[in-house]
């Protein structure tokens, strides 16, 4: 695909309660495979997607959290987390399973303005 656009995926939902987080990740991988400029934003309950130590055996559901660590292999390196959302949930950067850039809401808003396509599921 010749035209490259800036795609941002905004994640506002926690994992497992609904399928959105998992199916969103599938779109992220395909978008990167089409050589688009991809960034991920985690805000509100979406920050829970990145919580370390997810153990899903007891709910008989696939643990897809290791995929976030594999994103680097697909050249997806722009992972952003909203600081306020982390704080509201009693989390710090150390609780997250992958390296992220933590941003203020003003910084998040400015970054959103730079995008061509914003997808949220």
């Amino acid at each position: 695909m010749s035209d490259v656009k800036k795609f941002m995926f905004v994640n506002r939902k926690a994992p497992y309660g609904t399928i959105y987080a998992l199916e969103s990740l599938e779109v992220v991988l395909i978008t990167a495979a089409f050589d688009q400029d991809v960034s991920l934003m985690f805000t509100d309950d979406g920050v829970f997607q990145l919580k370390k130590g997810q153990q899903t055996k007891g709910i008989e559901t696939k643990n897809f959290s290791p995929t976030y660590r594999a994103l680097e292999g697909y050249d997806i390196e722009k992972l952003y987390v909203d600081r306020e959302s982390l704080q509201e949930r009693g989390l710090t950067e150390d609780d997250l399973l992958v390296d992220v850039t933590v941003l203020s809401r003003a910084e998040v808003g400015a970054l959103m303005d730079e995008q061509d396509v914003i997808l949220s599921f």
């Binding site: 199916e23 779109v27 997808l119 599921f121």
Partner: protein, 119 residues
């Protein structure tokens, strides 16, 4: 202007399908092109020809089919999401086609605007 639309919820359960349809219709009436509508998550259920609403209710599936026929709107159902939910060629309504997520990415790159309807 060229529009792409994403529908993430199933018909009847959530208003998203209705909102998306009314938006698409208004865009066409205003002279714009609705180039593709991509159905994802439970949105794939919009494509089931087995759908049979009560007579006094709107037929959401037929409405999409008519839109595709009259205005050449490309209705694409995500294959992975569809297989998970039992939507296959056998029960696919007229006007829809099953394809990959690349079609969503393409809608993002080719359309002037991409509008998402979901939960």
């Amino acid at each position: 202007m060229k529009f792409g639309i994403v529908v993430n919820e199933g018909p009847y359960q959530h208003q998203a399908s209705d909102s998306a349809y009314l938006f698409a219709k208004a865009a066409i009436e205003a002279g714009h092109e609705v180039w593709r509508i991509f159905f994802y998550h439970d949105g794939v259920n919009n494509a089931s020809k087995l759908t049979e609403p009560p007579q006094d209710d709107r037929n959401i599936v037929n409405r999409w089919t008519k839109l595709a026929e009259e205005h050449k709107v490309d209705l694409v159902v995500c294959v992975a999401a569809a297989l998970r939910r039992g939507i296959r060629e056998e029960n696919l309504a007229t006007g829809f086609r099953i394809s990959g997520l690349g079609q969503l990415v393409e809608a993002g790159t080719k359309c002037d605007r991409l509008v998402t309807f979901g939960d």
